[in-house]
Symmetry: C2
C-alpha cells in the first residue's frame, strides 16, 4: 500500500521463545475415554490439543496434573503447555471455550513460569466422590453420582475415612497401573507411599432432590483407582461388611485383594490441584 | 409335585379388565428425539413402551400429557396407559426403573380411574426455562441451561412476562404444528387461545457456579414451541431490542414473524402437570 514500506525479503525469522501456560479445566467425563490421548478415541487431552492446534497452529500435547479415567469428571483439572503464539490470556481463554465442546470448559488461562509443569509441580490434589442417597436418582444428576439407596452406617464410614489420614503405603488400594508410570524406589520396587492430608464424609442437601453423601480426600498423590477403591471399601464398612479399623489391616496387607470393590467412575470428581 | 393338585386342562382364561395407570416421569431429554415415538429413533415414549413390554409382555403406547421436543427435559411428565398385568404399583415402579436407562426415571406409578387420560384430563401445566448468567457454563450444567453472558434488563423481562398472563391468542408464539393436531374451531380455524395463570422470572443461586435466571410459566395449554418462542422474545426485551409493551403488539399480530427467536431446547423443563 502507498506510504507503507515494502518488505521485499522477509526479515530472518526472529527467535521466538515459547511461553509456558497454566490452563484450568472443568469437564463432564461421561462421554470421554478419560484424560489421556488414545488413537481414534475422544479424550480430554486430545480435545484440548486439537483446540490449541486450531487456535495457534501449533501441534502440542498439554500435560495434565494427572490422568482421570473414563467417566471421571473434573471441577478444576490443571494442564501445562508451551506455546509460541503471542496470544493474550483472555483471548486464549475465549478462543478455547469457543472451540471446545460444552462438556469441557477452560476456567482459567494464565502464563506460568518456565519451570511450571502441571504434573511434576503438584503439591496436593483434592478429589470428591458423590453418592446419591435415595431410591430414585434424578436424571439430571445421574451422570454425576453413584446411587446407593440401602442403609449405611455413616459414622463407621467417617471413622474409616479418618484411618487413612497420614503417610501410608496404599498398595492395597491401587489398581495395576496400565502404563507402568509408577514411581519406583532405587531398588526398583514401586513406590506406593502417599500422604493423605484430609479424608471426610459429609452430607450435602440437593434442592428438592434428596441428599448427597460426599467424600472429600486431599493428599500429595494418588495411585491408579485409589479413590474409587477407598470409596468402594468404605461403602462396605457402611453396610457392616467390614469394620472401620479393618482399613488399617487392609493397608498393612499391601494386597489389592484385601480391599473392597471399585466404586463407579461417574461419582468421582477431580476437585482441585494445588501448586 | 406330590401333594399338589395337577391341572390337566387350564381353566378358561378369565376375562381380565385392564387397569388404567398414571405414571410420573423425569427425564434428561438431551440424548432423545423428544417424547413421541419415531421409527428408528430413541424417544421417551418409545423407551417407556419398550420397558412396559419387557415387564408385562403387553404391547402398549403410553400417552403423555403432551409432547416434549428433542432436547427438552421433564421434572414430572405424566403418562397414562392401560395394562392387563396384575402388578402391584411399587413393583411396577421398581421394575420400570430397573429397565429404563438412568436418563429416564419413573417417580410414581399409581392406578388411576378408568377415565383418566394424561393429555385430555390436563387442567394446567407448568414449564421452566433455565438461563445461566455467566461467561463460562460449568460442564455439569451445560445440558440443562442456555448460557446468556451479556447484560439483560431483568426488570423489563419481568414486565414482559406479566403482559401474557390471562387469556390470549398465542398464534404469534406458535410454530406450525408438524402433526397438525392443533385444536380447531367449528369453522376449521386453528384454536390458539390459551390461558396463562402465571409467568415470572426469578434468580436462583447455584452453589459456587454463579446464577441462574429461571422463567416459570403455568397455563391451561401450550402451543408448539410456545415457551421457547416466549423466552426468545423476552430475551430480546432484556437486550433492549424490544420493549415489554411490544409483547401485546406481538400477540395482536397473530403472526409468528412478529415474535423473536426460538430459545434452545436444552434450557426447557416440563416442570409439572396438574389434573
Amino acid at each position: 500500500m502507498l506510504g507503507q514500506q515494502m518488505t521485499l525479503s522477509p526479515d530472518p525469522q526472529p527467535l521466538r521463545t515459547p511461553r509456558n501456560w497454566k490452563l484450568t479445566l472443568s469437564y463432564d467425563g461421561t462421554d470421554f475415554h478419560g484424560w489421556q490421548v488414545q488413537p481414534r478415541r475422544r479424550t480430554i487431552q486430545g480435545e484440548l490439543a486439537h483446540a490449541l492446534e486450531r487456535i495457534t497452529g501449533e501441534t502440542v500435547l498439554p500435560q495434565g496434573s494427572g490422568r482421570t479415567d473414563a467417566g471421571v469428571h473434573a471441577l478444576a483439572q490443571v494442564a501445562s503447555v508451551a506455546l509460541l503464539a503471542a496470544i493474550p490470556p483472555p483471548n486464549l481463554l475465549r478462543a478455547l471455550n469457543r472451540t471446545l465442546p460444552a462438556s469441557i470448559r477452560v476456567l482459567g488461562a494464565e502464563v506460568a513460569s518456565a519451570d511450571f509443569h502441571a504434573r511434576h509441580s503438584v503439591r496436593a490434589k483434592t478429589y470428591q466422590y458423590r453418592i446419591f442417597r435415595g431410591e430414585i436418582c434424578p436424571p439430571t444428576l445421574a451422570r454425576y453420582v453413584y446411587t446407593v439407596p440401602w442403609p449405611l452406617d455413616e459414622d463407621a464410614m467417617t471413622a474409616a475415612a479418618g484411618r487413612i489420614v497420614g503417610e501410608h503405603d496404599f498398595t492395597s488400594f491401587a489398581a495395576v497401573d496400565p502404563d507402568r508410570t509408577q514411581r519406583r524406589e532405587t531398588d526398583g520396587t514401586i513406590h506406593n507411599v502417599r500422604v493423605i492430608h484430609s479424608s471426610t464424609w459429609e452430607r450435602q442437601g440437593v434442592e428438592r432432590q434428596g441428599d448427597l453423601l460426599v467424600y472429600t480426600l486431599s493428599g500429595n498423590g494418588f495411585l491408579h483407582h485409589m479413590v474409587r477403591n477407598l470409596v468402594g471399601t468404605m461403602l462396605e464398612v457402611g453396610r457392616g461388611q467390614r469394620t472401620a479399623d479393618s482399613i488399617l489391616d487392609i493397608l498393612n496387607a499391601r494386597d489389592r485383594a484385601a480391599a473392597g470393590a471399585t466404586a463407579p467412575a461417574r461419582g468421582l470428581f477431580l476437585h482441585s490441584v494445588s501448586y
